[in-house]
């Protein structure tokens, strides 16, 4: 039972201390941020989306490069061009 701590008859925090954490404006701001559609968020502001797109572009670039190299070194195709 060491993962449990028991408080017995411990009073709740006073109202003033609880109310100092209350912030409805912040809640609405967080709500708007959380529910804003992805397409309305500029890419550079969404790190995850930005990184994913960057990775896709990088992979596409590497594949195209590799294909071009392969085409360039294919002897049959070189023959044909002659």
């Amino acid at each position: 039972m060491s993962d449990l701590k028991f408080n017995i008859d411990k009073p709740d925090l006073p109202d003033e201390q609880i109310n100092k954490h209350k912030d409805f404006k912040k809640l609405i701001y967080n709500y708007q941020t959380a529910t804003k559609p992805l397409y309305k968020t500029p890419l550079y502001k969404n790190k995850k989306v930005f990184i994913v797109i960057l990775l896709i572009l990088l992979v596409m670039f590497v594949i195209i490069e590799a294909m071009e190299k392969e085409e360039g070194s294919d002897p049959a195709k070189i023959e044909q061009t002659k």
Partner: protein, 186 residues
């Protein structure tokens, strides 16, 4: 947290507030004001950490606001729905962080358990029960806390934990039987 036992008029007024918040999130403010303290206290009793409680409370209200359109009245007050979100958020926090759980007990709650289980209500009996309660596992303690220390109805306990009212009743009475057995061995 005595949000239960509401009159029909109070329930209707609350349903109007919920309907307004579903239409316009800015109108969630009245519900936020009404339940902020009870949700904060509910979480603080289980974490005993003010800053952490403030963080989890803001997550609870954010999730409530995001999901309020899905809320349907099923015979238990709106507060039980909020407490359910809070209950899940607290459990998620403890699972992720492997942190120490806090259980808040009170002498009054112990007396209520003693009455319900037909056990000794004298000081010695209560002390023995305090020792026995500490032997319960985390889920059992959560049910005991909700029922006897926070005085929720079985319907609310069920809603908060995510089980049926009958299941909540069966589980709570099993825990009382377990306590009786532990105490009878002494």
């Amino acid at each position: 947290m005595s949000s239960h036992h509401k009159s029909d008029i109070e329930i209707q007024q609350e349903l109007q507030l919920i309907a307004a918040a579903k239409e316009n999130p800015a109108r969630f403010g009245l519900l936020y004001d009404k339940y902020y303290k009870s949700i904060f206290v509910f979480i603080h009793r289980r974490t005993d950490d003010e800053e952490l409680t403030a963080d989890i409370t803001s997550q609870v209200f954010l999730k409530a606001l995001i999901n309020i359109k899905k809320y349907e009245y099923k015979g238990v007050p709106f507060s039980a729905w909020l407490f359910r979100i809070a209950f899940n958020e607290i459990n998620m926090y403890f699972r992720k962080n492997n942190a120490q759980r806090v259980v808040s007990l009170s002498q009054n709650g112990m007396v209520q358990i003693a009455q319900e289980a037909e056990l000794d209500e004298n000081a010695e009996g209560i002390n023995q029960m305090m020792i026995a309660v500490k032997q319960l596992d985390a889920l059992e303690l959560q049910l005991i806390e909700l029922r006897f220390f926070e005085k929720n109805s079985f319907a609310e306990v069920g809603e908060i934990v995510g089980i049926t009212e009958n299941n909540a009743k069966v589980k709570v009475y099993r825990i009382l039987d377990k306590l009786k057995k532990v105490l009878s061995k002494k």
